[in-house]
Amino acid sequence: MAYPIEIILNRQLADCLAIPVFITDTVGNLLFYNEPAEEILGKRYQDTGEMKVGEWSTIFLSKDEVGKLLEPEDLPLVKTLLNQLPYFKTFWIESLKGKSEKISVSSYPIIGRAGIFVGAVAIFWRPSDE
């Protein structure tokens, strides 16, 4: 069974971009991440393929500016999955190896012409003030 065309087109766009892009299904399972996103995950898509939400969401920790762990529902992608709306937030991510990085995340729902919610996209940016 093929993925919805909107998911496929988002992947084909992500393949062309130099910014990290993550594409999930409606419950957060990671369907695709592009090469720039591989740096953030520390994994390669060709090695992992798709990843269950419980697997990829624990690869890095999300923290606020004083180092406090963020609740999942504070994260843009999780909010997009819950509310089917776009969100934006700047926060810190810390890899399991302890490397910390300030990051801005924009997320948006993938809602096709038929008005059906089929997944979500998160784009990671390095904030311009750095």
Binding site: I5, I8, Q12, L13, D15, A114
Partner: protein
């Protein structure tokens, strides 16, 4: 299932001595079984259909893949639309913003047309489809959005005699170098999978495609690779570029046969061909 190719040219009707073999009419395919008729797209080829001869059920279903002009330009000349005794059903892709009737109405209105959509005198029903499944007479039909500029669907038509898939305008390699070999990531693959016959876009040569990426069409090489990935049993290449003469299409086909070795038969579609599944 009897399939008649009334138009296999892409983009614009192209009638001149150099297109006599493959034909110059734009997309229109007739599918018949048990006296029930489907018309796939309403390009200029639709003018060759004669329903007074072969219509047993007093109903005609026109399945539009999309509303680019080469796929609807024959509608104004389709006599059953102006016959109060005929039931005509038009099926086409749904969009979020405008109804199918409103979008067809742009064509059926001045200055493009001397009359309005509301002036059609047949018993008309319009159906908006998306990733849908529906039945018409002996046919089970699956539609799905495929990669092409603007809302566009392909069709998979199943009857007791086989499966026929029609994707005349399609650029599955958009933004990539070649096709994704994981068919879950291949546009329209659920329509084409293991079809007995696939009629697919093959407008460009690889050289053409270098300057026409994003125009919504496939190279001949990608079309054949697509059929291989989706395990179709027979492929016909269509939507021939209007600038390609019969001689050029012959040369392209010879080159394609020489360069590739696929286990299924494939040919260039020729206007007027009748295929029985």
């Amino acid at each position: 299932m009897k399939i008649t190719l009334w138009g296999v040219r892409g983009s614009i009707p192209t009638f001149n001595p150099s297109t006599r073999v493959y034909g110059g009419n734009t997309s229109c395919i007739e599918v018949e079984e048990d006296g029930c008729i489907l018309v796939l797209d309403a390009g200029s080829g639709i003018t060759n259909l004669n329903f007074s001869d072969n219509l047993e059920c007093n109903r005609i279903d026109i399945l539009l893949t999309h509303l680019h002009i080469d796929h609807i330009q024959g509608l104004s000349f389709f006599k059953p639309l102006f016959d109060p005794d005929k039931k005509v059903h038009i099926w086409g892709p749904r969009t979020h913003a405008h109804s199918l009737i409103a979008r067809l109405g742009r064509y059926f209105s001045p200055p493009l047309s001397p009359f309005y959509f509301r002036d059609l005198t047949c018993q008309l029903e319009v159906h908006e489809i998306e990733n849908s499944s529906f039945e018409i007479g002996p046919f089970t039909i699956q539609s799905a959005y495929v990669i092409h500029p603007g809302p566009t669907v392909g069709y998979r038509i199943t009857s007791r005699s086989g499966v026929f898939t029609y994707i005349p305008d399609h650029e599955p390699a958009l933004g990539r170098s070649g096709l994704n070999h994981d068919i879950r990531w291949l546009s329209g693959s659920e329509l084409a999978f293991e079809a007995d016959l696939l009629l697919h876009d093959a407008q460009y040569t690889a050289e053409d495609y270098k300057v026409k990426q994003g125009w919504g069409h496939s190279t001949m090489e990608d079309a054949v690779a697509y059929a291989s990935l989706t395990k179709v049993k027979h492929l016909l290449l269509m939507h021939h570029d209007p600038t390609h003469s019969d001689a050029q299409l012959d040369a392209c086909y010879a080159q394609l046969k020489e360069k590739t070795s696929y286990p299924f038969p494939f040919e260039m579609a020729v206007e007027g061909t009748v295929i029985e599944l």
